[in-house]
């Protein structure tokens, strides 16, 4: 199952924790942008670390929200 992270731009405050944890997946400018993906388990732990809780994770094929 391929999953991708999605940034809620209205909530993202560009703390930068996601980029620090996964520089291949997130890039921080004035908000975070998604530049790659990673296994679900890793994406969920990054989403949990986001101080603004601005990251959700969806199933790329079905669009189903896997986190939160």
């Amino acid at each position: 199952m391929a999953c991708i992270p999605v940034i809620d731009e209205a909530s993202c405050l560009a703390h930068g924790d996601c980029e620090a944890l996964a520089p291949d997946v997130f890039r921080i400018e004035d908000v975070a942008t998604v530049i790659g993906t990673a296994p679900l388990e890793q994406l969920v732990s990054i989403a949990e670390a986001c101080p603004a809780s601005a990251i959700s994770v969806i199933d790329e094929a079905t669009g189903e929200q896997l986190y939160p």
Binding site: D8, A10, S11, L13, A14, G16, E29, D30, A47, E48, A49, C50, P51, A52, S53, S56, Y67, P68
Partner: protein, 428 residues
């Protein structure tokens, strides 16, 4: 009148200044931007100063928002070590001063003047001090990277108890860091519960409980009457008649806006009032961050906020005003803290007459959410190790403010949180 030296002059080189610059350049603003950074380093992130810098010895370079090359690439001029000393409104000029080691520690000398077209007041705040407790030697405060290095060295190199005056976020985060480093800690707070200005007593009591669980000696409703400093240590006389010997003292009793330099222009003292776009009463003069007081979009009154998130949103709001855009849609205010391995997030507000409903049991050490409402309307939430609940909490609070949401819809939303515990008993 001669040309201005800067199209936008930013007094202060912290988070609000940084986000204002980033947003302006992204929005295509091509004027000359000059930033006065009082500290000797490029703009950096302060939250790690009370957390990872103390525990993991993270180094200064790691805290910079951007590498030095970013400022060149984006044509943002940083004047490091240069502060705003005075605002001359008639001339639209700032009198500058710079650090001068020849003038002794903390000494400053005149560094000329700079004319501006528009000005952003972003000089932040500085720690409040207590009468009779001079900072220096065994007595610390924590605001700058320099302060953090001194505190870190003291935590690692000296044994003995750390006495922390003030159970706000800084005091509590340092308490957690000091415990992680194996130090004995006493946390002294004049109010009856920690974070009393923002958290209702029942929830503030939980934070006190968490610290006690991790071995912090928490003294609430206790004031420090006298501090006598001996060679490398301190003796504190407390209002409960007890005496405490400590190897180090951290004064963490809040901050006050660093706006004294605006007195001659008729602004301040205290935070500078603005509209939702960061405009002060003076044309072409904006304020953001700890030095500013924005109107709260939900409480609909001026509300100063010293939180990280407010500085971000306000820096962005000023950038949007400068290029003629309206402020971004309002979001409920939020702060977070990491203490004793727990992620603590607070969103919205809590008024003294609020109702609290718990989802989860705080006594178990597991995650929980405390939903805060007033007259049945969601107002705020405290989330402990529940980051996944923050989007829902935001939506509930923002939704409660919108008259278009019917009460029926709101009550069905409330039913989603069916598992509720009893109100957390107030700990003393």
């Amino acid at each position: 009148m001669s040309c201005p030296d800067a199209d936008l002059l930013i007094a202060g080189g912290g988070l609000a200044a940084q986000r204002c610059c980033e947003t302006l350049r992204r929005l295509g603003f091509d004027g000359r931007i000059v930033v006065l950074c009082e500290e000797p380093s490029t703009p950096y992130d302060r939250p790690p100063l009370s957390k990872s810098v103390l525990i993991d010895e993270r180094e200064p370079e790691g805290l910079s928002f951007r590498p030095a090359s970013w400022y060149e690439e984006h044509d943002v001029e940083l004047l490091l070590g240069v502060a705003a000393a005075e605002l001359d409104l008639a001339e639209r000029t700032i009198v500058l001063s710079e650090r001068a080691s020849a003038a002794g520690p903390g000494g400053r000398r005149d560094a000329g003047r700079m004319r501006f077209k528009e000005l952003l007041i972003a000089t932040g705040s500085r720690p409040r001090r207590l009468q009779g407790i001079p900072v220096g030697g065994a007595v610390h405060e924590l605001r700058t990277h320099e302060d953090a290095l001194l505190l870190r060295a003291a935590l690692r190199e000296r044994d003995g108890r750390l006495a922390i005056l003030g159970a706000g976020l800084i005091g509590m985060e340092v308490a957690a860091a000091a415990r992680a480093l194996g130090r004995e800690v006493t946390l002294i707070e004049a109010a009856e519960t920690p974070l009393a200005r923002v958290l209702p007593p029942a929830l503030g009591s939980w934070i006190a409980y968490l610290h006690r669980l991790h071995g912090v000696d928490v003294r609430l409703a206790t004031a420090v009457e006298r501090v006598s400093l001996q060679e490398g240590s301190a003796r504190l006389e407390l209002s409960d008649a007890s005496v405490l010997d400590a190897a180090g003292v951290l004064v963490a009793v809040g901050t006050s806006p660093a706006t004294e330099w605006l007195a001659s222009a008729g602004l301040g003292p205290g935070a500078i009032y603005t509209d939702a776009g960061g405009r002060t009463e003076l044309p072409g003069v904006y304020a953001a961050g700890d030095a500013a007081c924005f109107p709260d979009p939900f409480l609909k009154l001026p509300l100063p906020s010293q939180h990280w998130e407010a500085a971000v949103r306000q820096g962005v709001a000023v950038a949007r005003s400068i290029v003629g855009l309206p402020p971004a849609p309002p979001a409920p205010s939020m702060f977070w803290s990491d203490q004793h391995g727990h992620r603590i997030q607070f969103v919205g507000h809590a008024t003294p007459d609020c109702e609290i409903e718990l989802d989860g049991d705080p006594a178990t050490g597991e995650s929980f959410a405390a939903w805060i409402a007033r007259a049945g309307r969601p107002q705020g939430a405290l989330l402990v190790d529940r980051p996944q609940s923050l989007p829902a909490a935001r939506a509930r609070i923002a939704g409660a403010e919108e008259p278009s949401v019917s009460s029926g819809e709101k009550s069905s939303d409330n039913n989603n949180h069916s598992k509720r515990g009893a109100l957390w008993p107030a700990y003393r």
